[in-house]
Symmetry: C2
Subunit: 427 residues, 2 copies
């Protein structure tokens, strides 16, 4: 693994993300045509695309509810117990994210407030094959249900051997209400515009290939979407007190996801840097996904040796990693220094995969530096706010001069007159 | 104004929004080229576009701080007092939106939590000419500063007579930190990628023309953006107790914004419907923006007479208006029936322009039916969340079986081994 010993400024240039904007207008056009076709022709268009792209001929896309029950009964006991444990902890954590409406009646005659309302429906895209993670279904479905969403819809591409039972079991546990075997841009179009079989939803989330991601971007505005997810990332801050073998194992746990995954160690200990680099080599050799993990480590991974912890945190905030491990002595004291990260793992026993599965916080996290402005998936993603005000005559009159002044300054005469209409002499 | 007397189902079809997807690939390509050019060539590219599109030759885009102070001193006393009142009420309302970090230590040996961090920087696009509303600058800048954003940046197209002093005064009152005279897609590109003069921001907000809107969509992901705003809307629910003259005035206050603005009255009183329609004609004839308001009312406005209040609310929830007035007896009792609306105005004295200016709630609201899933602009738009966990050895051990089971079910061996590394015998 590459080890850098450079100044903070030089390191900042090295970690700066590749920012060239790449839009493939051919894909944009193809996706735009798919969306328009599905918006106009509904089920028939979806069926045609499924025949063309997934080579299946489905009379009915929907998976009946009893198949979810059967799947849950069919999975092995340990898997079921693990999913149940995850559900319990995800629930207890995310309950704390539930927000309250508020009302302010501090001025007599005036009521002002904001009320929280759940979205009526959301759609979750689950990729096919080995990328269909049961754990992700729990991470999306449970916060949606805690928020009060009535219709949680899952779409996933049809599979030759049928949908993976672990996926259907997780859907059942997560409280998913409807499942459809539809994939690609046509699935996103169906969720956004609705078809005879698949009623439209208000928000679409979940990862997918370039066609799915492009379709999500294009329907943004018609419906809400989550962030477009990039490859997984882990950043580790460690000092000489850390265990090289454990750090190497944690770096590899993200590297195995994807050749484009990014594993980064920032330390103030040269000896730790060298020990981790050796451990990576040793552990790589026995990993089933060795080829993927090796490409990730060699092409995109690095170890940076910095002068001190202040530099370490400044550089890591520039990186804004999806996952951040703090393997320093007294790790909690550094929480205030962390500005940009999706999820933070404090100390030796908070190994990153703990958060992926059972700790309770979400594992759908901002990637690609978007932790600068984006949050983990949470209950707040499944509600919207509505403001409200009530004024009595006296309080409106007190504000009349200011309102009409501002309205006329902005050239909006009818705005001023609407207020004045309440005080016309003739009434 | 059109008056419909139709069944709920027929009305639902009439109010259904026009959903055809229209992407202009020529504009997409032009904007993509502008963004790439600004990302690569910085200030020089911005300067070239300003010369080409705005016909100005600016040595320096930035407006020095003292010009904001001068502008605030130069505006008339009444305008200043009105802006100060607005600021005070916007502040007191939005303070209530400030969210707290939380920590959960209910299981001994486990700490789980979520911390709120302000965005480091945000950019506000303010259109030029008459669409540059000082009130909107307060509505964006004040929540950003309450959230704790350090750098609030404003960009606005250069004007032949210089930037409107009311705009600069509002920027000063809102706490805007930097102002640049740059417009169009090049301004959005500069905010997203940064130039020598304009450092990049983390989130871009504010309305603009099709080039600005397209640029915002294209940089989404590199930075966060707010929703793409559509024409203004007002929906009014009224019964026979309402005042036709006031209702007509409120409908016109939105219709004057834009020929594509949408003013809607839903009532259970035929006589009110007819009285409002007459009042609209009478009031239109003396409005300075008569042409705009008339086009909006005739092309897009309507009055629907329904059977009862249940139908009225169901239809209005389908519309999901930006602004919703409830001009019914005992209006507060209906709050629970309102599912989809940006801001709600309860009773006779909560005329919509009150909310535009001084009441305190935000006037940057979801349009075009997006109130189904989107919220008013608020303090929550200027923060992000970071989760954190800390586990002791015993608690990690208790979860080991579940974690490794889930990891191996998902084919992620290195995930399982990272946890097992903490319990290897050799240590």
């Amino acid at each position: 693994m590459k080890i850098y010993e450079k100044s903070l400024n030089e390191m900042k240039k090295i970690v700066a993300r590749y920012t060239e904007q790449t839009i493939d207008f051919e894909i944009e056009k193809t996706v735009s045509e798919i969306i328009q076709n599905v918006a106009q022709n509904g089920d028939q268009a979806v069926r045609d695309y499924e025949r063309k792209f997934d080579n299946v001929n489905l009379a009915d896309f929907s998976i009946p509810a009893f198949q979810l029950d059967q799947a849950l009964d069919s999975i092995d006991e340990d898997l079921r117990a693990a999913l149940e444990l995850a559900k319990q902890n995800i629930t207890s954590f995310h309950k704390q994210e539930i927000e309250n409406s508020f009302v302010d009646v501090s001025t007599p005659g005036i009521m002002r407030g904001e009320k929280i309302t759940p979205l009526a429906s959301v759609g979750l895209y689950v990729p096919g094959g080995t990328a269909a993670y049961p754990s992700t279904i729990l991470m999306c479905g449970i916060p949606a249900k805690l928020a009060g969403v009535k219709r949680v819809v899952m779409v996933t591409p049809p599979q030759p051997a049928g949908i993976n039972p672990a996926v259907l079991a997780a859907a059942k546990l997560a409280g998913v209400d409807e499942v459809y075997q539809v994939g690609g841009a046509q699935a996103i179009a169906a969720l956004a515009y609705g078809t005879e079989t698949i009623p439209a939803v208000d928000k679409i989330m979940g990862p997918g290939n370039i066609f799915v991601a492009t379709a999500k971007k294009q329907v943004f505005g018609k419906v809400a979407i989550d962030m477009v997810a990039g490859p997984s990332e882990i950043g580790i801050l460690a000092d000489e007190s850390a265990n090289a073998k454990e750090i190497a194992a944690d770096l590899l746990s993200q590297a195995e996801h994807d050749k484009r995954a990014r594993a980064m160690l920032i330390t103030n200990s040269k000896s730790l840097a060298e020990a981790v680099s050796k451990e990576i080599e040793r552990q790589l050799s026995t990993l089933p996904r060795q080829e993927i993990a090796r490409t990730s480590i060699e092409d995109r991974g690095f170890i940076a040796v910095m002068e001190n912890t202040a530099e370490m945190f400044e550089l890591m905030n520039d990186v804004a990693p999806e996952h951040l491990e703090v393997q320093l002595k007294n790790p909690t004291q550094y929480l205030g220094l962390i500005k940009n990260a999706g999820s933070v793992f404090l100390g030796r026993y908070a190994s990153e995969p703990l958060g992926d599965y059972v700790a309770g916080p979400n594992h759908v996290l901002p990637t690609g530096g978007t932790a600068r402005f984006a949050s983990p998936l949470g209950v707040y993603d499944f509600v919207k706010r509505t403001q409200f005000i009530q004024f009595d005559q006296q309080n409106l009159k007190a504000d009349l001069k200011a309102i009409t002044k501002l309205a006329r300054t902005e050239g909006l005469e009818a705005h001023a007159r609407a207020i004045e209409a309440r005080f016309d002499k003739e009434d």
